[in-house]
Subunit: 213 residues, 2 copies
């Protein structure tokens, strides 16, 4: 919280306006200077992790931003049962521009079958590898891949090695899920941690249409 | 990083499978028990804050999830110049289902004119109030409202009071921007802080189509 200093509190509106204009001039100059050094374009490896909400939702937002830019997007869901209703219906407005494929049989605590989960993870990863290395997709979303890596259904080294060796220069890959492994964080270009500050589940509110699904 | 204990490392595949099934059974039971207590539905006040990326992008993801569920969405951008190209093109696939309106003249360090910024903020807030209180929209996004509150162009008390008194019970309101004020965090149902772990700007990579805009 920014407390006003006594000096600022005593200023007239005109003084505040002049002070503001000067501050903003400096801010813009500093910003322009930094931006001038940013000239490189490349496909990014992006990770959304942390215990808070918004990891998959922000990936879903990136999907639509990319689609709006005429880019083609591939999505592999490593946990089935997500992105089912609202997401799929919204994606249907972009026929031929987005490919979505889901792994296996739902959350791992629903199946309770490790061997089936491992087989499903491998199968989804094969689909992911094809999308990462093809020339068709500009962006690939690997939703909840981190959960699969965390359970060691797939080795993080295998994923990082594949990205390093086979991801085309300009392709963006977005990986979501809590507990991202260090090796993946080290390799990624952009990592955001979503932290839970306050969650309505605490107060008895259930998952709702339009918010969670 | 989960290090394997020597005990787990020595287990056979069969033992690992059995151990996994037992753990997952317990996890599912605990989850189901918690979910059973979550019965309430209500419109949420959601805040995305923090210095990391994904605040507006996750709000944008919520827009499409809601649209995919047949809900109507209103968007007020308190900072113009965002959500311009990719976002607008994607939203055009949902004619009549989403209303988008932008305030004023761009980032405050671009205008360098405090009085104009204040007038634009007030005007945008009037649009926001209409969308928050109407019966048409199921979800309202107030993108970068936090920046306006931070500069005190609009009093946080006014915003919180309006939400408390005029937001219909089932309407969702999503507020984005770094430096969310305490009063807003206290009032909100769901608050996520996006933390920057790693950012490609550091290494000379510029803002790119499909990622930043």
């Amino acid at each position: 919280m920014s407390e006003k200093s006594p000096l600022v509190a005593a200023m007239s509106e005109e003084e505040l306006d002049a002070r503001h204009a000067e501050k903003m001039r400096k801010k813009k100059a500093a910003r322009d200077k930094i931006l001038a050094t940013k000239t490189q374009e490349k496909g990014l490896v992006i990770v959304h992790t942390g215990k808070g909400k918004g990891k998959s939702t922000a990936a879903f937002g990136l999907v639509f931003r990319a689609l709006g830019n005429g880019m083609k997007v591939g999505i592999v869901q490593f946990v089935k049962g997500k992105w089912e209703t609202g997401e799929r219906a919204a994606l249907e407005r972009f026929p031929g521009e987005v490919t979505i494929t889901a792994m296996g049989d739902g959350f791992t605590w629903e199946t309770q079958d490790r061997q089936r989960d491992i087989a499903a993870a491998r199968q989804a990863w094969e689909r992911a590898k094809a999308m990462i290395s093809d020339e068709e997709h500009d962006m690939v979303i690997l939703d909840e891949l981190n959960i699969v890596l965390r359970y060691d259904y797939l080795a993080v080294e295998e994923v990082v090695d594949f990205l390093r060796e086979h991801k085309p220069e300009m392709k963006h890959v977005v990986i979501t899920g809590r507990n991202a492994k260090e090796e993946l964080i080290d390799f990624a270009d952009l990592v955001t941690e979503m932290e839970m500050v306050k969650h309505p589940f605490r107060s008895g509110i259930k998952a709702q249409r339009g918010i969670e699904f």
